[in-house]
């Protein structure tokens, strides 16, 4: 608490005491820290939050284990192309480019980010829109009428949850896949260049997606609309990359998901580096949140 806060708190406390004489309630002005604590309480006291997070981690780790199992079988038959692996594996199993692109063990640990992003997109949207759907937003904004701290607190909350969930999922996936892949010599090797970046890429990517979704949620204020918009951007727009027109291809490079995924999948070409791609995704998130901040202050709740 800053010194200014302290004095205001004391002043309002004295005023409370003097006008009543009975038991007094000490009030402290709502700042970012207290708003964050409030948001933290709100998030973890919703049973759905805990369920969503638990199920997501289980699914992500389960998929990684399944992938590892598939790879270990493929390793035995000498054909590591796994039909169930999706786009992530296709990119990574190119021989000769192994130095830049994730190795199989790493793919097994990280590829489930693609499922995680859907959940975190929904979670990010809900942190904003469920308040509007239930009317909770009126209680929230009455308690913190300057409004901006509410948005910032939610940004911190969502970032922490996404980073924590991503890190936990990757860590557990590593643990789960290691005994399956180790006998085949396919296990993840942290010494290989880019491994740590790819591992960190999962929570970072998920956090950026969740924050982008939070911004869209605050902008649209309706759960169904915001989820449709976010999933449209994440899952439908990348279809553009299949259209063989130069300018469409150039544009598709800068779509949030395709750009951001480079951090996890590696950069298959020299247009955008891994971190540049991630920066593009972050720019989308920042833009959505900035617009949300302006409108949150301006609109009626």
């Amino acid at each position: 608490m800053s010194a200014a806060d302290q004095t205001t708190a004391e002043r309002s406390g004295r005023r409370t005491a003097s006008r009543r004489g009975r038991q007094r309630v000490a009030l402290q002005p709502p700042n970012l820290g207290r708003t964050l604590r409030s948001e933290w309480v709100k998030f973890w006291t919703l049973p759905s939050s805990i369920w969503i997070i638990a199920i997501t981690i289980v699914v992500m780790v389960g998929l990684s284990a399944l992938m590892a199992w598939g790879l270990s079988l493929g390793g035995e038959s000498g054909a590591p192309q796994d039909p169930g692996a999706g786009g992530g594996a296709d990119v990574s199993v190119q021989p000769g480019e192994g130095a830049q692109l994730p190795a199989l063990g790493l793919v097994a640990v990280t590829f489930s980010y693609s499922v995680g992003q859907i959940v975190l997109a929904v979670l990010g949207v809900l942190v904003a829109t469920s308040e509007y759907a239930t009317g909770q937003i009126r209680a929230t904004l009455t308690a913190v009428p300057t409004r901006t701290p509410v948005l910032v607190a939610k940004v911190i909350l969502v970032a922490l949850v996404a980073l924590g969930l991503g890190a936990l999922a990757v860590g557990l996936s590593w643990l789960a896949t290691y005994p399956i892949l180790q006998p085949e010599g396919l296990h993840l090797d942290p010494a290989v260049e880019g491994t740590w970046r790819t591992l960190a890429g999962v929570p970072l990517y998920l956090a950026a997606i969740a924050l982008f979704s939070l911004g869209v949620g605050f902008l649209l204020r309706h759960t169904a609309g915001a989820i449709a918009a976010v999933l449209g951007v994440l899952l439908v727009l990348p279809i553009l990359t299949m259209i063989p027109i130069d300018w469409v291809q150039d544009l598709a490079l800068y779509l949030p998901a395709s750009a951001g995924e480079r951090l996890v999948l590696g950069a298959p070409d020299d247009t955008l580096s891994e971190w540049q791609g991630y920066a593009v995704l972050c720019a989308y998130a920042v833009a959505a949140l900035a617009a949300a901040a302006v409108l949150l202050r301006r609109r009626d709740a």
């Binding site: 205001t8 708190a9 002043r11 309002s12 409370t16 006008r19 009543r20 007094r24 309630v25 000490a26 009030l27 402290q28 002005p29 709502p30 207290r34 708003t35 604590r37 409030s38 948001e39 933290w40 309480v41 709100k42 006291t45 919703l46 049973p47 759905s48 469920s130 308040e131 239930t134 009317g135 909770q136 937003i137 009126r138 209680a139 904004l141 009455t142 308690a143 913190v144 009428p145 300057t146 301006r298 009626d300 709740a301």
Partner: protein, 313 residues
């Protein structure tokens, strides 16, 4: 203390609150009365900064709500629509609000006790009855021990015991020197609870003052006079502030003069009176009359509903 000055809110072309100016004084219970859609809720939402006024301003305890360092200590608000996530328990809802102002758990427990929610505090709000939801809203409003309370239709959905509890509580809070501002669309409720009254219709203030002042200003006693010389008497009584309505030959209704005055005037002029009866309209009638032009949705007689529909639009 709540001071609204030229407060106006437009939604597109629709004017919800139209250049409203009023003061709500501390130490008193002030009723905010008006038919549904009159602008009560919008006004209250503007007081706590949820809606931004199109023009004008409203101050609470000398500042606009958002400028107060610890707003929950200034104003506790229960707004009409529920403002609670239904999957959370009442206790956690209050804890989350309390956290914004560093309000200790003990105070959360206190307001739960005060509002009689102990038995359901750890149940999900989604399963609350209307009355319990209302009590939770009041608990949230009381959390910061506010100097001003704003309650939108607080007795909605409460059982008779709950209604009495709210009335008693409003009175106690006002007696402690706080400002209590509550809305209702029921005149009868206001007549029991309020010291001061502000009546709003179609976004405009129709009447404001102490309960008695408002009643006097709107109930104005009329006198029914029956006389074979009604025309002659009408001329005698005519004057400023006097309205005389002829109901049928020999029968008229006089507004603005007491029965005694009319009787004496008639005696002096030798006019024969067959009937001289003062008629006090009830508060409810007065309110209905006041807001008759101002209600948004008129209801026709049930039997005529079909015809009304055809003709009304």
């Amino acid at each position: 203390m709540i001071e609204a000055n030229g407060l106006t809110k437009r939604y597109g072309k629709k004017v919800a609150v139209d250049d409203v100016t009023f003061t709500v004084r501390p130490g008193r219970v002030t009723g905010f009365l008006g038919p549904n859609g009159a602008g009560k809720s919008t006004t209250m939402r503007m007081i706590v900064g949820l809606d931004r006024p199109t023009s004008g301003q409203v101050m609470v305890n000398g500042k606009t709500y958002a400028r107060h360092a610890a707003p929950l200590g200034e104003v506790g608000a229960l707004l009409e629509a529920r403002a609670v996530h239904t999957s959370r328990t009442g206790y956690h809802h209050l804890r989350a609000i309390a956290a914004t102002h560093g309000i200790p758990r003990s105070r959360v427990t206190d307001v739960i006790e005060m509002t009689g929610l102990r038995a359901v505090a750890h149940k999900r709000v989604g399963g609350f009855s209307l009355g319990m939801g209302q009590r939770l809203g009041i608990a949230a409003a009381l959390l910061g021990d506010p100097r001003t309370l704003i309650l939108d239709e607080p007795v909605n959905g409460l059982d008779p015991e709950g209604v009495r509890w709210v009335r008693t509580m409003m009175r106690e809070l006002a007696d402690q020197g706080r400002t209590v501002f509550l809305s209702s669309h029921l005149m009868s409720e206001m007549a029991i609870t309020a010291d001061d009254l502000i009546i709003i219709g179609r976004g405009r203030i129709i009447a404001a003052g102490t309960l008695q002042e408002v009643i006097d200003s709107v109930t104005g006693t009329s006198v029914r006079v029956r006389s074979p010389q009604a025309g002659e008497l009408a001329e005698l009584l005519a004057g400023k502030d006097v309205t005389i309505e002829s109901l049928e030959p020999g029968l008229m209704e006089v507004d603005g003069l007491s029965a005694a005055h009319i009787g004496e005037a008639a005696a002096r002029a030798g006019v024969v009176l067959h009937e001289l009866s003062p008629r006090n309209s009830s508060l409810e009638e007065a309110y209905l009359r006041l807001t008759a032009q101002d209600v948004e949705f008129h209801s026709g007689p049930v039997a005529d509903a079909g015809l009304q529909q055809a003709g009304a639009a």
